[in-house]
């Protein structure tokens, strides 16, 4: 018996996969229904379900990223358009669409551990935080708080509970789903926001807006101070972003400096050129520092 098994093992290496299966069938039909194989069939299902869910979440996250990026581009138009309110409203509609997608994530995560799949959707959520905080800043000139972000991520779902039938029928039919942005995701999103603010500062100068850059510089400084307060107690990604944040702050502060010193001398339509050339000269230096 054991010798035959040994030969079987040697044969297996030569034959291709389908034949191996067949020979298994013949040699010992018991092996197919053996406890080991049936256990692994259960594992197969469990792993497949998990991987499928992960892939679905990655896909949703990518959609969220794309839509959020588009919203940010739209918001950058605020500085050059006479009717800012219209642009803001359009961005609001877009953000509502993004929120619907986050609702899908919340749906997928129903009854799951948020952190088990966190890596699948964290890029999308960060981008969303960036977009929503940018929008909030343009409208209110303040930093959106984590609670405010989370407060908008409450979803009502009607159809699913009905489908589930009697087991959950006793519960109120409009099920409330929430999605909680983790403090880390919020923090990373806000760090990205500073890059957008820097761009907004430079472009607002181009429109002859002498007021916004100074406001932006104050706001950026506040955020920078906040990040310095957290320092390296935060996760690794935060300290990485702190470096970029310093660069953005430096650019904005320099722009304000130029405006203050030479603003009265240079004709308004040329200011933007002066500022952008300044930042271009600055760039290589920063690599060294």
């Amino acid at each position: 018996m054991s010798k035959r098994e040994g030969e079987g093992g040697a044969r297996k290496r030569k034959t291709d996969f389908t034949e191996v299966q067949k020979s298994d069938d013949h040699d010992n039909g018991a092996q197919i229904s053996s406890p080991v194989i049936s256990a692994f069939k259960v594992f197969q299902q469990e792993l497949d379900t998990k991987h499928d869910k992960y892939e679905r979440l990655v896909k949703i996250s990518r959609d969220i990223t794309i839509e959020s990026k588009r919203t940010i581009f739209l918001l950058h138009r605020v500085t050059s358009v006479p009717n800012a309110e219209e642009v803001l409203h359009e961005a609001d509609v877009k953000l509502d669409g993004v929120r619907q997608k986050i609702g899908l994530i919340a749906e997928e995560l129903r009854g799951e551990d948020l952190y088990q799949f966190h890596r699948a959707f964290t890029p999308g959520i960060q981008e969303y935080v960036e977009a929503v905080s940018f929008h909030h800043f343009i409208r209110h000139r303040t930093l959106i708080s984590l609670e405010e972000v989370n407060a908008r991520l409450v979803f009502m779902r009607h159809e699913r509970t009905d489908a589930k039938g009697s087991s959950e029928g006793s519960r109120s039919s409009p099920a409330v789903l929430t999605f909680q942005v983790t403090p880390t995701d919020y923090l990373l999103g806000v760090a990205d926001l500073t890059g957008e603010l820097m761009r907004m500062c430079i472009s607002s100068v181009g429109n002859g807006d002498m007021d916004t850059p100074f406001k932006l510089s104050d706001f950026l400084r506040e955020i920078h101070d906040g990040f310095s307060y957290i320092g390296n107690t935060g996760p690794y990604e935060v300290s990485k972003k702190l470096h970029t944040l310093r660069q953005s702050l430096g650019k904005v502060e320099d722009a304000c400096y130029t405006l203050r010193v030479r603003g009265s001398e240079i004709p308004k339509h040329m200011l933007a050129d002066v500022l952008s050339s300044r930042t271009a000269i600055m760039d290589p230096d920063e690599g060294v520092v």
């Binding site: 054991s2 996969f17 406890p35 692994f40 088990q116 966190h118 107690t233």
Partner: protein
């Protein structure tokens, strides 16, 4: 809420998070120590003298698993139960080790593959995520794969010690494991990497079986066993 307030709120969250991680790390360190002790006990089966008293070694290991249970019980108290995956990385390694040790003990005792339920029972944890601290299926599978390479070593050493029948039994067992793992659709993750090593274990054991059979040693042993 002002910017400063917001950041100090988040700072509070982050430092609370770090405290939890610190606590977990301490318990996991102790757990790793116990796991090493169990490993040392079980390693001695590779020595020629060790083959005789495998049952007593398994018994000793089982005793040590009691300590493991209390230590895991302590670990459970260090963080909110629904946040298992937030801190998973901290105990993933040691849990895989422990799954391997449990599987190894069960194999030495009964020459069968430990079920996930059994491992969970030996470690005093759950299988379902809903019920509390649980054994993730990937960690269980990783533990089983570690055992496979340990068994290929055992096959070699048992020949050295003059036990010619054990490699054949191990070969059957590993082949069954291999066909089990072939059912899984693994992603390109650490588990997959580890699974890729399984074929070398299979190969090694097959070579041992081959060596035994061309020398007629396997047959001889079988005949001896029949008498």
């Amino acid at each position: 809420m002002s910017v400063t307030e917001m950041f100090s709120y988040i700072q509070g969250f982050l430092s609370a998070d770090q405290d939890i991680r610190e606590d977990i790390r301490k318990v996991v360190q102790v757990l790793e120590q116990t796991a090493r002790e169990i490993l040392t006990v079980l390693q001695s089966v590779h020595q020629p003298s060790g083959f005789k008293d495998i049952p007593s070694k398994c018994l000793r290991a089982r005793e040590l698993f009691c300590t493991v249970r209390t230590q895991i019980g302590e670990l459970k108290t260090k963080f909110p139960v629904e946040q298992y995956y937030r801190f998973h990385e901290h105990w993933r390694f040691v849990l895989q080790r422990l799954a391997f040790l449990a599987a190894f003990v069960v194999y030495l005792e009964s020459e069968s593959l430990v079920t996930r339920e059994e491992v969970a029972k030996i470690l005093g944890i759950e299988i379902d995520r809903e019920k509390g601290f649980h054994l993730d299926v990937e960690d269980y599978l990783a533990g089983v794969l570690i055992m496979a390479s340990e068994l290929s070593r055992l096959a070699v050493n048992s020949v050295t010690a003059g036990d010619y029948s054990r490699p054949l039994r191990i070969s059957n067992f590993i082949n069954e494991l291999d066909s089990g793992f072939r059912l899984l659709n693994l992603k390109n993750d650490p588990l997959r990497k580890r699974y890729d090593g399984l074929k070398y274990d299979v190969k090694k054991i097959e070579e041992v079986v081959y060596d035994l059979s061309i020398r007629g040693l396997a047959k001889e042993q079988e005949a001896g066993g029949d008498k």
